[in-house]
Symmetry: C2
Subunit: 233 residues, 2 copies
Amino acid sequence: MATPLYQTVIDTIVARIASGELPSGALLPSETQLGAELGVSQGTARKALSELEKRGLVQRAQGRGTFVTLRTPEMSLFNFFRLRSPDGTLTAPELVSETVIRRQATAEERAALFGRPEEVIEIRRVRSVGGRRTTHERSCLPPALYPGIVDRAPLPNALYVLYQRAYSIIIVRADEKLRAVGAPADVAAALELGEGAPVLLMRRAAVDVLDRVVELRVCHLVSEGLDYFVTLS
Amino acid sequence: MATPLYQTVIDTIVARIASGELPSGALLPSETQLGAELGVSQGTARKALSELEKRGLVQRAQGRGTFVTLRTPEMSLFNFFRLRSPDGTLTAPELVSETVIRRQATAEERAALFGRPEEVIEIRRVRSVGGRRTTHERSCLPPALYPGIVDRAPLPNALYVLYQRAYSIIIVRADEKLRAVGAPADVAAALELGEGAPVLLMRRAAVDVLDRVVELRVCHLVSEGLDYFVTLS
């Protein structure tokens, strides 16, 4: 089956966003300009922009044009860090400790990550909110996409912002699985909890603008006095 | 500040959907018809329809017009029941037991629910998936919106579908807070778990098409072998 024309327009714009040619906040060509440049009708260009808007990659401003969605560290924190006080207040987490290593990938990591890597970079962090240890986090990356990241440690708090600025990897979606578990011994020690205390286990696959799984993350989150906020619709 | 014209169009259509005048699946008037009927420009009608599409209330079908989003029991289950096998398979839950009572509202329920009710209807259910008890659920409703619901017991499995069909209450969003907790004694007994076993505590405020909080739900979910799936973006 032939690729529909508007899909070609979508792919072209996504590639330009991913390469940094169209950075965050940039103004896109008008529907007419896009149509002329890519040899499609204005209607096809409009359909492609609509679809990109639905995916959250671009935003239209009445009378001003269409812009690449501006992604800031604050937005990344707000969208992807869901642990809040019960009243919904978000406090930015602080780093307690960090280890970055390169190791063999597990079979599961190899199967899930983009490029089926033999090895992964593992970033292991303990983070705190308001002086209290709340998060034990292991993020696994395919090394080919993040050259030299091991040498960048200590890494900034907002990893997704680093991925975008240093590697042009733009996370647009995270698929998560949550469960309640008793804290394993190493997690309990790191979070200063009793072994077996109930903690939220979150396993996340982060997907970038090119629809690649570019990070797997396993977090244990303290639950006492904190909630994990989500909205379903 | 005056209400923008397109907001008036939105409110009119939402009211028609909520009253059942425009039922699920119904074809909406065209932009031109809407504009003529409500005395606004076609552009204003288009903007209102775009906004309603963004909120998921209507869907456009190329060349066929705009329709009220079809909501089926399957969609309600798929969107709002997030407990799945680790591979993502969704099995519809079955009812193990149900109690429906009317009681005094707590201060918290009164503050959160639409109409600030003095009393609430509480629906207490235990549900199972594949023969295993997985869910202990307490749903609280403001009685004024659900006349006679106590006499309808036993209630159907998909409560949101009942709300829509019997009371024209259309749930469009659920704000949830999740934590890991040790199972309290009553929950542990109902779910056949050891007291203190880690379970997922989910507290949900369900919001309808008129932006009213029409149900508060507190669920305890078994975590062993099951995941709670969410997508962030």
